[in-house]
Symmetry: D2
Subunit: 330 residues, 4 copies
């Protein structure tokens, strides 16, 4: 039994260069709510959420990821997590309440074994839920943040850390086609759906995308309509289509700074702690694309660099240990 309880993916802090262009994309087209604005930060939320925000856009000179943030069930859990990272000789940093991130309590930042910049917090200012405030619905009518998808060079090592040390459970995973069945990718969850985090073999540490959940396929199609009507059609990178893995109906977009967001619906719930994970062979044609056009090269090759939590500089990357170019996904 672990001495802490991570409850869910809670928010991402990403870098953007221009708030007006970002607002066009995230607020106008995708329907996120603009909650707060500071000199160097825009705070956005989604319709079902009560946390003050689920996305922080931080002004910077390029796209990229500052950190991905998870909620824990109690304040003490942060201390237990700090010990865990320290014991593993991984960098940590404490963020004072309501300083860097408005309305958030004490936060622990750390770098995972692969270098992913993660944050944990318990206290967060709540706002009134807008789920039934239908006049606020627009564009893709995004409901809630769902997950982060990350690329790491040694996926087995990172997987061991997240499952054995942090207590994440596996919903689905992908193995190499050869008899050794090496781990290629894994979908890990704390809340009761397919994932809060996915880990992929690939050049990393990088974040491939973060994802918001929409209520139905029509909402996701409307994102396409909005982006096309607003002359941002080039932000559509892949989809719409359906993944075999997770059954998600998906659409991948690039924000004006190249950060990738997935709009996502039609997955399933996992209320059983003993859910038997679903195994996919890497080359199973139904795995990544149950149906949908072949992804462009950019979707395989490009992902967001992540920051060193201490220096704010981008971490250098290494190629994935496993070779091949799968249609890794979700």
């Amino acid at each position: 039994m672990l001495p802490f309880n991570i409850t869910r993916a809670a928010h991402a802090e990403i870098r953007v260069t221009d708030f007006d262009r970002a607002r066009q994309f995230y607020v106008e087209a995708l329907g996120l709510l603009e909650i707060d604005e500071e000199d160097d930060a825009l705070y956005l939320g989604a319709l079902e959420e009560r946390d003050r925000y689920s996305l922080i856009l931080r002004k910077a000179d390029s796209g990229g990821v500052k950190n991905i943030s998870f909620r824990v069930a109690a304040e003490d859990d942060l201390d237990a997590l700090a010990r865990l990272f320290s014991d593993a000789d991984l960098p940590t940093q404490w963020i004072e309440p309501n300083t860097v991130e408005k309305g958030q309590g004490r936060a622990l930042r750390a770098q995972s074994p692969a270098g992913l910049p993660v944050e944990f917090f318990h206290e967060m200012e709540q706002r009134e839920r807008q789920l039934q405030n239908f006049p606020l619905y627009r564009g893709a009518q995004l409901m809630r943040i769902d997950h982060f998808n990350c690329q790491v060079p040694d996926v087995q090592a990172e997987y061991d850390f997240w499952t054995q040390q942090l207590g994440f459970m596996v919903s689905e995973y992908t193995v190499s086609d050869d008899p050794s069945e090496q781990l290629w990718a894994a979908w890990l969850h704390r809340k009761q759906n397919v994932h809060d985090v996915a880990l992929m073999n690939g050049t990393g540490p990088r974040m491939h995308h973060f994802a918001y959940w929409a209520q139905d396929t029509a909402s996701i199609l409307r994102a396409c309509d909005m982006l096309a009507a607003m002359r941002m059609v080039d932000s559509i990178e892949r989809g719409p289509g359906r993944h075999g893995l997770s059954n998600a109906f998906f659409l991948y977009l690039r924000d004006p700074d190249g950060n990738r967001i997935e709009l996502y619906t039609s997955d399933y719930i996992i209320p059983d702690p003993d859910f038997e994970p679903i195994k996919w062979k890497l080359s199973d044609p139904r795995r990544a694309t149950f149906w949908g056009h072949h992804p462009p090269d950019s979707w395989f090759d490009e992902a967001s660099l992540v920051e060193d939590i201490t220096t704010g500089a981008f971490l250098p990357t290494q190629a994935g240990l496993l070779s091949g170019k799968p249609e890794f996904a979700t």
Copy 2:
């Protein structure tokens, strides 16, 4: 062969007491576009339309109907129609171009045998269609005006006039249950769908409702969500449900002045001039309500008074010749 060609139901001019409340209802909740405002008129249009407007809200001291308006294929058709009404000793009135109704050419107003105030015009200023301007989509995302549903005391007589004199075709009709099969109601069209006008046995002349077409059922459900969120839930009078007649998925609303509007989708097209009309017995349980709650009394008993085109006073009404209280509909 008739010497004129009525092409479609084009717009309604209805009476409202307060533009702000009407705007909340028609623009904010239902998603009509606000095109123009004059001292005593608000001009509204829908997303697919090119005519400058399809609904005129005219300031008055109560709800009610000024006229229902049809487009004709050519300017000369108006003169032919004027002769037809005059020969039948029915009142007519010419409206000068671009006076009472902004952007409309010369218009002929007349009173039908039952007293329905009808208008015909050919020229209408066009506006840019907003069908692909998705940022303008809101609420029920109404696409186009579809039809007018009217109650008259002698439905057979009125039916004869609209079909034999005006050239309307029948898509579906309802007859009394007894062997005499008297005509209870008829759905009449010029454009190629179920109706531009429906005529019903009942206290009249009155307009029961006018209807806009929406693209899908989700749009119509969203109208309910919007009205409830905006504290106008009492404007929902009947539905959602499905009619047997026309197969329409429907929702009936009352605007803040009691005028009734139907939101409507899932009907069918009639490209064949020799389409065999569908006959329904009045008491067929699937006729009016294929499924859906029983309508409230108001839906049967209440309808909008219509104006005398010459005096602007409401016309007196007479009870329908046929007795019974059917669930007449669509």
Copy 3:
């Protein structure tokens, strides 16, 4: 910390008089999968589920409820639960594996303080999930069982048992309008959404309805279309509409034996254990019906009797302690 972990509402065992009529309703119209048939039992499942079944239709001479069944996280949890019920002097009964209910392991049946017949089990034969077997989708395309809604005379006492003894958490609740704010109803969950069980003040012990989750509103509208086309339109009792409480888009149906099922979508997830419950006043007009027609009397007055787990006879009922006729719901 409780010595057991109830994970979710898992299946209902209800009484039906005629398998063919029940099959028409549940399989043809609603789209449940027929998994197994025995002389006196039909086993049905839904598209997303892996448990062998989520609904047992047991042949009997009338409708009614044999039991409502919950999964626990481990086999030992059953013993801990047996002690809890015994210590509270509540009736219990052990069901041998794979006897009464096919494919199910050892099961504990018990009667709650109010008399609700509950069952707990851990082991259940799994079947291949049909989530991506789209040729099997039909009618309402039901995804998974969601919750049971029960009426009890003393809701506060039953609430205390389920929350304090069984470990259920509260998502939303209703209190009387007077300053005493007596508990009228509560929505309780173990899995991470609005409820696995709802408890209502009212004549009981009775089950008001059980509910399945559908993926979108269109699936639920299609249930209406199917039932109407199959000449079972009278099985539609209330809806479609939207609840304020839970935000669910709902439809209430009565099966051919009068058992009530809710089709349900558009609720929300609750991944946080410290979710602050939403309080509603009983007379809040948005509480039960955010929008939708007024429910018929049957919806308030009728519910399914429940069996004594030992004798199989129906338990006698008592009126609810609190007076009034709210639109309790969800």
Copy 4:
């Protein structure tokens, strides 16, 4: 005024090699109704239609097109059309009633100036409409046949024939980018929507695709789900996406013999005979793909050969007069 009245695109007769595979595709996945089977023909219809069928699959040793068929308003219209084709020295052929095509009256076949094999008929056996027979709905739930899209070498000449001789009206058209604005493609209609026939510059005479109309986007997405689940995912060639031209939400499929079918919804109606056609420049990026992946080469390069109505041999083709490779569409 023309001495005949073509009312609409009515049915296509296409060549398939294997009825079982064709049935899997058209009936199981797309939801067409199987109406009749003969030794060498399968007759299929759609849910809204009353004509006995709208698609004839004729057994042959390869895919291809036998003819595309249009209904006329009266029996005499056939004779007038026969004179028109004869006067233009174009091949014609009379088909006796109820011989080659079951339930169809006397039919005139002809070859257009570009060689397109067209058929005209007036009488057709009617069947009961299945619009409200919801238990028959499956897969893409196709409602009605909509249009034929054909490639011809000299689009201006073919356009002149269809508009001036046959009386088709233009809804939208595409011109070359240079100042000469040569006609590249045109969407022509007789029924009141965007098209019954589209003519494109390209290697011809060939049929690029025929199209069925679906009620909503969800129906079209379900076609993808069905084809993927049935291991026919390779039949998806392009889409889903949205055309600028016609605003259609589209999906292009190849049947097991390579014949191309478009599933299509979200277009608009054209009840006005003086509708001002919409002009697009060939290189307008929003014209063919408002949004959606780039089409594969096959979509540009491949199309169905058409038969000589007299010999049944495929007609030879010629390259299009205009050069370039546009994303011609709809």
